[in-house]
Symmetry: C2
Subunit: 204 residues, 2 copies
């Protein structure tokens, strides 16, 4: 190629404007606090834009309900009642995803994680949500339960304008490579270090 | 002191249980995203506990309203209407704090910051809120507008059970020293690097 020619024109078929406004893949990783909290904060912001919000919590045992779930589901009902904001769905793996009726084999977390990802792939293809939070999704990837390449391909090829936020430690390099925005939360000081226990309203 | 004696018994007049449940001073700092978003996420969680929430935004020009403000103020009205959650006050420096009637000298940001801190000190003494978010409060400290030692003393001596979250870059060492929980948000990758502009629903 002759010198002086632009060498970095992304081969993505997009105009500059389209590229600027392309939907984001966001990753919150690192050992510090705030990865999920900041993701749910973004969901709050999206709700206010009237977006359809889908939260998927890949936690092994989600017996407890965190404050954000109560509030975001309340905001979803507010949308139904008054038209304010957007609809909200909040699903957690726990002892079986809420869209399935079977809760028998709740101990097979790997199978449940695979099932969760299959459902998310369907929703991405159908453009069900405007913003998807895949909370603690890095773990089933790190443990080899879900194929990282399959995830990255589905995310890269997702149609329309779907923002996706993934949280969790040990994010795979391929995921970081595919992401538009990556923030690492680093623990500098934590009250557990000084013998304090988790507190209501702060930790959940 | 004889060897074998405990050397580190905090001289704070608290029992171990009280020390475990002591209200937290939380700092979100670093150059990355999510410092404020995670703080507002904690406010959401606190609202769900029925806490009285006070947000104070130390931004020079807060002409725009971010999604979190709309949603948290809506939740505050929901509390008034139905008793759900807790009350919410959201104040921003902008062109004069909302509790003052004078908006004349809106260009004197240093004076406005000092006035904001004086009001917060009054509220801490009166235990007005259960959770205070002092958003971007590190900047008036870093610029020398507000005395760091005065802030740290007032925070250390605050009565009752008031959680305080401070956000912003360049947090003063004395503030980090006084904090119970410090998280640093580090930018790993940002869409601005690839020529993308801030987007509605993501940046505000």
């Amino acid at each position: 190629m002759p010198q002086g020619q632009p060498t970095v024109v992304p081969d993505d078929g997009l105009t500059t404007r389209q590229r600027r406004n392309k939907p984001l893949l966001v990753v919150h990783t690192g050992d510090g606090k705030g990865k999920s909290t900041a993701a749910f904060g973004l969901a709050l912001r999206g709700w206010n834009q009237g977006w359809n919000i889908g939260v998927f919590q890949f936690v092994k045992s989600a017996k407890w309900r965190i404050g954000e779930q109560t509030v975001l589901e309340r905001l979803g009902r507010l949308h139904e009642e008054t038209g304010e904001g957007g609809p909200v769905e909040w699903h957690k793996m726990g002892s079986g995803w809420s869209w399935t009726r079977k809760h028998g084999d709740s101990e097979d977390h790997a199978a449940a994680a695979v099932e969760g990802w299959a459902e998310i792939k369907r929703r991405l293809a159908e453009q069900t949500h405007d913003l998807l939070v895949l909370d603690e999704f890095t773990y089933p990837l790190a443990w080899g339960w879900i194929d990282v390449e399959d995830v990255v391909t589905a995310l890269r090829e997702r149609p329309g304008r779907q923002h996706v936020i993934i949280t969790g430690r040990r994010a795979a390099p391929q995921l970081l490579e595919a992401a538009d925005l990556v923030t690492e939360m680093t623990k500098v000081k934590h009250p557990m270090d000084a013998g304090q226990k988790g507190q209501r309203g702060i930790e959940w």
